[in-house]
């Protein structure tokens, strides 16, 4: 063969192999797992190969599962070898029986290419962005590009703006000009305080005497700030004034609501705000306020319906606490994991019960009295309480001090009557008490008496002559006490001597009363409480203190349900429930946090306190992001992650990921968890201050305002709509705090089974309080709020769906509350000199905007129609203004106009 040819072939081969080598070795774009691959897996694969179903033994939820052997005996993904991976082959199959996704359309070529590339590149599993720590990012440097003028632009007011503008620039959009001063003042006041700005502040700002920064500062220090933002938090805390379920009786929770308002107004750092609510009771020497904060997790519902199992609803409440904690702080739906592994997020079923173990050891047990309940003593009662506590502090050890202090605060720990069992001639009667007949007996297991000489017995003996006997272990056991109980008029707590017994044992309780028939109820038992002996028995004055204590535990006082931890001798074990069913407990688990999140620091106690520290640890990837995202959502009506309830592998990708991380780090580090600083930072941005006007073109370009080329425009919340109507008409009361109020609502709205509770219309200024103080009955919330999308607060609500319905129109048109407000606004309007000015004044007061000629004409027309009608028909006028002694047709007509103003879209929205 010709040498030339051979060498030619050689050269050709050489070139060929070089090309081949180059193609093989050239740097190829590395596929990003969490941004490119995980979304495809979540969308197309994971419903059959994930947390719930693992068809063919293949799951794509966790790394180790994805690369494990499937039912075929081989792994489906072979890293570096797409052609040999069943995972890729099945995507390309022509046979519909074999092709994946099964019975669904074939994946697109791009998707298959991406997956192939990923496998060939080694199938590296990445961590989802939501579970990685927020990254330190630089504020973007903007370059003035093609018609994008940023020099001296009002669009840049702080470091938030470059993040927004960078994306706008990329999308070829320009920011909107700033909103006019009046619009902006109204917007920011409604956002910070929930109310329109008061006229002085408004005047000063719009006339240039006050800078925007000072306007924001003066709004943030108003106490109305806490009232506005409390509504947001209380939705998540599922705060209500009733217990829920069938009877839905009232409960006294308002001290917690007031705590939230105060904490927000004091700008309590969010980490502290978190710890106090989740574990205030476990802090060293908790203050009363820190105990009040723990009512957060007592907002769970309580079932008082006859015949319900307290344990079932206690468990339901604990489950709600786990779910709510993760909904509120982690943007994670833990509810899924109760029954099975999470369908998309990296949480396993066992994780749920490990978490539940943190929450499963509180004293509450779904009893109607809502124990443990913090007691608020009157000053003279408090004097006595202080005296007792001082005595115990002086003579007792620290655990005795704590035991007495807690018992006086919330009368726990006690053994409740539903723990009694083996009834003879008696039964548990569903009303937090057990009933014994004249010769009844029952048993209580595993009692620890502290080795004390007496115990406390809450009971109701409504007949004289009842002998009460307690025996050790069984009906023939050693008698520990035998006393004759007096007749009582109501449930009382009595101190009863008992023989000293060490360790845990069972007690047998029996009663007899020869004076009454056999099957007649003789006594109700509510609880038995054991405390160490009162210390200082040798000291002078001891018996006086003992008497003082016996009296104090019977003090009547208002209460607030709070959280308190089981003492060691009453600890519950936590078990995994099969398929989430509490009747099918399996493995016992200890408290721990999910492996997918931040690591546990061993210096933390394995209880709610440690858990809450874990939650606000700066290494938790979700707590800061969640809060920042939700505050952003409150202000813009959209989150940086649009799924505000979910930040995880199934959530939307952030519209501005770098901004989310930057703001999160800034919130935790520079702002040191200060909510007010965060809010100030966001409302100070040029992004927030833009005008919200759009055109059909800009609307079509970005209907959801995901890019922020304009300012926010949304309908106001239920609370804001009412508060604003009362504010502009001068009716709004600025009274703060206290029990829920009952402003007028239509007759017959409250209709509840087995409950004599009524809607008693509040008097005087209580009719005009801010909406946050309105009594909220879960099964029948204030009707006009519900119409405007406020919830019933039965469970945690992260986002209220905003609707637009005819029933809303009926509220603002016909509800007497709005008519009264309209009438008051009309009277203010009368102060202007002529009709034109009167109409303009009313419009301006309500919307803080100058009226246009077209709008004025429309109002004039309405005014004339009303005036004619009322002039010709005095009866109608008198009916309409029935609360006015001598109504004029002019005032009637102005009232109609004022009502129309309160129905305008611009009044009901912030622009």
């Amino acid at each position: 063969m010709n040498k030339k040819i051979i060498s030619g072939i050689g050269v050709a081969l050489g070139i060929f192999s070089l090309i081949f080598l180059w193609n093989w070795l050239k740097p190829e774009d590395k596929v990003n797992f969490s941004a490119e691959i995980k979304p495809i897996l979540n969308k197309h694969c994971i419903s059959c190969h994930g947390g719930v179903k693992k068809n063919a033994g293949f799951s794509l939820l966790f790394e180790e599962e994805a690369f494990a052997n499937t039912e075929s005996g081989k792994p489906a993904i072979i890293p570096g070898n797409a052609a040999g991976s069943e995972f890729i082959k099945r995507l390309k199959e022509e046979d519909p029986e074999l092709r994946m996704p099964y019975e669904k359309p074939k994946l697109s070529d791009e998707e298959i290419d991406l997956l192939t590339k990923w496998v060939n590149q080694g199938a590296q599993w990445g961590e989802h962005w939501a579970y990685s720590l927020p990254e330190q990012v630089e504020v973007p440097k903007l370059t003035a590009k093609a018609g994008f003028s940023i020099e001296n632009s009002s669009a840049i007011q702080n470091d938030i703006d470059p993040f927004i503008l960078q994306r706008l620039e990329k999308e070829g959009l320009e920011p909107s000009p700033p909103a006019s001063d009046n619009i902006l003042a109204r917007r920011v006041a409604l956002d910070i305080t929930g109310l329109p700005p008061d006229s002085t502040l408004f005047q000063k700002y719009t006339s240039g005497k006050l800078s925007y920064e000072h306007l924001v500062d003066s709004l943030l220090v108003q106490s109305s700030f806490g009232e506005k933002w409390a509504s947001w938090w209380l939705d998540m805390a599922r705060y209500a004034d009733t217990k829920g379920y069938e009877k839905d009786l009232g409960r006294s929770m308002w001290q917690y609501r007031d705590w939230v308002i105060k904490a927000l107004n004091n700008d309590m750092p969010y980490d502290q705000f978190t710890i106090e609510q989740l574990a205030g009771d476990l802090l060293p020497n908790p203050s009363i306020d820190q105990l009040i904060a723990t009512a957060f997790h007592r907002n769970t519902m309580n079932n008082d319906e006859g015949g319900t199992d307290d344990e079932e609803f206690r468990v339901a409440a604990v489950i709600d606490r786990v779910n709510t904690t993760f909904d509120v702080w982690q943007s994670t739906t833990m509810g899924c994991v109760q029954c099975h592994g999470h369908p998309y997020d990296p949480f396993k079923q066992k994780d749920y019960y490990h978490l539940m173990a943190f929450f499963n050891n509180t004293r509450d047990e779904d009893t109607p009295n809502e124990a443990p309940a913090l007691r608020f003593y009157a000053p003279e009662q408090q004097e006595s309480i202080t005296k007792i506590n001082d005595w115990v502090s002086k003579y007792g050890d620290s655990s005795t001090v704590r035991a007495y202090r807690d018992f006086l605060r919330f009368q726990e720990p006690v053994y409740k009557s539903h723990s009694l069992q083996d009834f003879v001639n008696g039964s548990y009667d569903d009303h937090a008490s057990s009933v014994l007949w004249s010769n009844g007996s029952c048993r209580l297991e595993n009692v620890w008496t502290h080795g004390a000489d007496y115990f406390y017995f809450n009971h109701y003996t409504y007949r004289p002559g009842t002998t009460f006997t307690v025996r050790k272990d069984h009906a023939n056991g050693e008698i520990l006490t035998k006393v004759l109980l007096e007749k009582t008029e109501e449930p009382v707590t009595k101190r009863i001597p008992i023989k000293k017994v060490d360790g845990k044992f069972n007690i047998h309780i029996e009663i007899s009363n020869p004076n009454i028939a056999k099957d007649k109820n003789a006594m109700h038992i509510y609880w038995l409480g054991f405390l160490p002996n009162l210390p200082g028995s040798e000291q002078p004055g001891f018996s006086k203190i003992q008497r003082e204590f016996d009296k104090a535990i019977n003090f009547k006082a208002p209460i607030l349900p709070v959280t308190s931890e089981n003492p060691d001798h009453m600890k519950r074990t936590t078990q995994v429930f099969e398929r989430g069913n509490w009747l099918l407990p399996t493995d016992t688990v200890q408290p721990s946090t999910p492996a997918a999140l931040n690591a546990w620091d061993d210096s933390w106690s394995k209880d709610r306190l440690g858990f809450s520290k874990w939650l606000v640890d700066k290494k938790n990837p979700l707590t800061g992001r969640t809060l920042v995202n939700r505050v952003w959502y409150q202000l813009f009506g959209r989150g940086l992650v649009s799924t505000v309830e979910d930040i995880g592998s199934q959530s939307d990708f952030p519209s501005h990921p770098a901004l989310l991380d930057w703001l999160t780090l800034r919130f935790m580090n520079e702002h040191q968890w200060s909510l007010k600083s965060l809010i100030k930072e966001i409302v100070s941005s040029g992004t927030y201050r833009q005008q919200s006007e759009l055109t059909p073109e800009t609307y079509q370009r970005d209907p959801e305002n995901e890019l922020y080329a304009r300012g926010p425009r949304q309908r106001l919340s239920a609370e804001q709509i009412r508060d604003q109507a009362l504010a502009v008409s001068g009716l709004l009361s600025d009274k703060m705090y206290g029990p829920g109020v009952m402003p007028p609502q239509p007759e017959g709205v409250w209709q509840t089974v087995y409950s004599g509770e009524r809607w008693v219309e509040s008097k005087a200024e209580d009719r005009y309080r801010r909406a946050v103080y309105t009594f909220l009955k879960r099964t029948s919330p204030y009707p006009s709020f519900v119409t405007f999308d406020a919830g019933s607060r039965e469970v945690c609500t992260i986002r209220r769906t905003v609707t637009n319905t005819p029933l809303q129109a009926l509220v603002t048109l016909n509800d007497p509350v709005y008519l009264e407000a309209s009438f008051q606004l009309a009277r203010m309007m009368q102060s202007a000199k002529d009709l034109e000015e009167q109409l303009a004044l009313g419009y301006e007061k309500a919307t803080m905007t100058r009226i246009t000629p077209e709008k004025l004409a429309a109002l004039q027309e309405l005014y004339r129609a009303s005036l004619t009608e009322f002039s010709n028909n005095k009866d109608e006028l008198e009916q309409f203004l029935h609360f006015d002694a001598s109504p004029t047709a002019a005032l009637g007509a102005l009232t109609v106009v004022a009502n129309a103003i309160m129905n305008l879209d611009e009044f009901l929205s912030k622009a």
Partner: protein, 502 residues
């Protein structure tokens, strides 16, 4: 699926869509009187091919959340009337005839039945209680019914019975929630809310989901049983009341004439339109639409809620009493509402909790009266719908939240003065009638004393799956994403009860 069936299915879907389209066009034309919104109505037509560029900026749903939507599959019915006997009626005195229980009357209940069971009030060893009513087989179907329901006998062949329904809840509140929302805990949307969310309303002047109550009280679980849960609140049931305003705030304030209200709404909408030219926010258009709708609703609701103008023979047939809150009145109203295109009508009648604590709750006394209150109205409702040709497009569902025990209640472990039965979730009777239902069917069977289902047991989820199926939904596909999870009415369960489908 067979090709023929497939064709049939497609035909039905087409028809449903055309019908919807007609409604839709009508609403577009008349709904926004005088406003030239055509150009903005890009997304108005739900039938527009979805491949069109995304410029279809907002759909008709954005403007009107109750806009009619076609169901994904061919529906059998377009509306539902759900009759709920709150408190739970005794199947053993009404439909589930148990002669053996009669023989065992007053004998101790065998321990084997009580093992591992939980009851609300029964303690210790209760006694069995024989049926307190007399039973007969009626109609061509020969299905059993008691003498407590003489009128119902005449329509028994229209009905399909489910004799072995079961629930895992035995307290009223949670059981009612379960029956209406598919979950015993609060927070989920009710079945009526799901239906209205999925289908919208046929009548834009009335709420899509109406609730009527009788018996003096609302259900134990409160308004949550017709709540919207995590669905937008517009889909929750609107309680229409017999006293006061039928719908809250529907009446104009005293002294405001209809003309003046019209002028007010005109002025509001004129200004809102002005505002729209500035802000171009479609929410403003939606609001304009809602105000017009509110005005029309103020006329339509009182009209449909008044039974005054019904002919005497109809009033007589139902046994209505004007001006009172009664189950009979509510049945007549239910007919009027579905006739006017309301999607879901929910009736709650309170007072069926026959524990035997007094005369009114005794299964041989009070229960008989309760049956009398519903007997004629239910028969009338079925016949009235039938004579109007509406029965074929309406589904009627009847039931309680659970059933009652074959044992006599012994509250506090004592013998009680009246004969009563405790709550019982393991086996109870429900029935359905109307479009898509196999007439005269009887599915499921309980044991000799009616304690457990032995054949054809169906769960609450199965009942839901069946109702959704009849409305044209696949209950497994009909989901709503909330807090990161896709929720279904039937959760992860539910099997369509094919045996009662025509």
């Amino acid at each position: 699926m067979e090709p023929i069936e497939r064709l049939l299915q497609e035909k039905l879907i087409r028809e449903a869509q055309v019908k919807t389209r007609r409604h839709f066009i009508k609403d577009c034309a008349t709904g926004l009187g005088g406003l030239a919104l055509g150009s903005i109505f890009l997304g108005c037509d739900p039938l527009q091919p979805s491949s069109k560029p995304k410029q279809a900026s907002f759909s008709e749903r954005d403007l009107n959340p109750l806009a009619t939507l076609p169901p994904p599959y061919a529906p059998k019915v377009k509306s539902v009337i759900y009759l709920h006997m709150a408190g739970s009626p005794s199947q053993l005195e009404m439909f589930d005839y148990k002669p053996v229980l009669h023989k065992l009357n007053n004998q101790d209940c065998p321990e084997s039945l009580l093992q591992g069971k939980k009851f609300a009030f029964i303690k210790g060893t209760p006694k069995l209680l024989g049926p307190q009513a007399e039973f007969s087989q009626e109609g061509e179907s020969g299905n059993w019914v008691s003498n407590y329901l003489p009128h119902f006998k005449k329509v028994i062949d229209e009905v399909a019975f489910l004799k072995a329904v079961h629930t895992d809840q035995f307290n009223h509140g949670p059981a009612q929630l379960f029956m209406h929302t598919g979950s015993p805990r609060l927070g989920r949307p009710s079945i009526g809310a799901w239906a209205t969310y999925g289908l919208g309303s046929e009548n834009q002047n009335l709420p899509g989901f109406v609730v009527l109550t009788s018996g003096g009280k609302t259900p134990d679980a409160g308004k949550s049983v017709w709540g919207s849960g995590f669905l937008p609140s517009v889909y929750q049931g609107v309680q229409c009341r017999s006293e006061g305003d039928p719908v809250l705030y529907i009446e104009d304030p005293k002294g405001i004439s209809r003309d003046l209200k019209k002028s007010t709404i005109d002025a509001i909408n004129k200004i809102n339109k002005e505002e729209y030219t500035k802000y171009a926010d479609p929410e403003i258009l939606a609001r304009i639409n809602q105000y017009e709708m509110a005005y029309r609703m103020q006329i339509a609701v009182p009209k449909v809620m008044s039974i005054e103008n019904e002919p005497e023979n109809i009033k007589e047939m139902y046994g209505v009493e004007s001006g009172k809150e009664s189950f009979a009145n509510n049945c007549l109203l239910a007919r009027k509402l579905v006739e006017d295109g309301v999607r879901f009508v929910q009736l709650f009648d309170w007072g069926w909790d026959s524990h035997g604590t007094d005369h009114s709750t005794a299964v041989d006394l009070g229960l008989r009266n309760k049956c009398r209150e519903i007997d004629r109205p239910i028969a009338a409702l079925i016949l009235d719908l039938k004579q109007r040709g509406l029965l074929d497009e309406t589904l009627i569902v009847w039931g309680g939240e659970f059933g009652r025990t074959p044992m006599q209640e012994n509250r506090g472990n004592k013998e009680m003065g009246f004969k009563g039965r405790d709550h019982h979730g393991d086996a109870f009777t429900m029935w359905m009638a109307g479009g898509g239902i196999k007439k005269g069917a009887c599915y499921g069977k309980t044991d000799d004393i009616g304690f457990l289902g032995v054949e054809g047991r169906v769960s609450v989820h199965d009942v839901h799956a069946t109702i959704l199926h009849l409305l044209g939904f696949d209950h497994e596909e009909f989901t709503f994403e909330f807090q990161g999870r896709n929720f279904r009415l039937t959760d992860v369960e539910g099997v369509i009860i094919k045996d009662i489908l025509a």
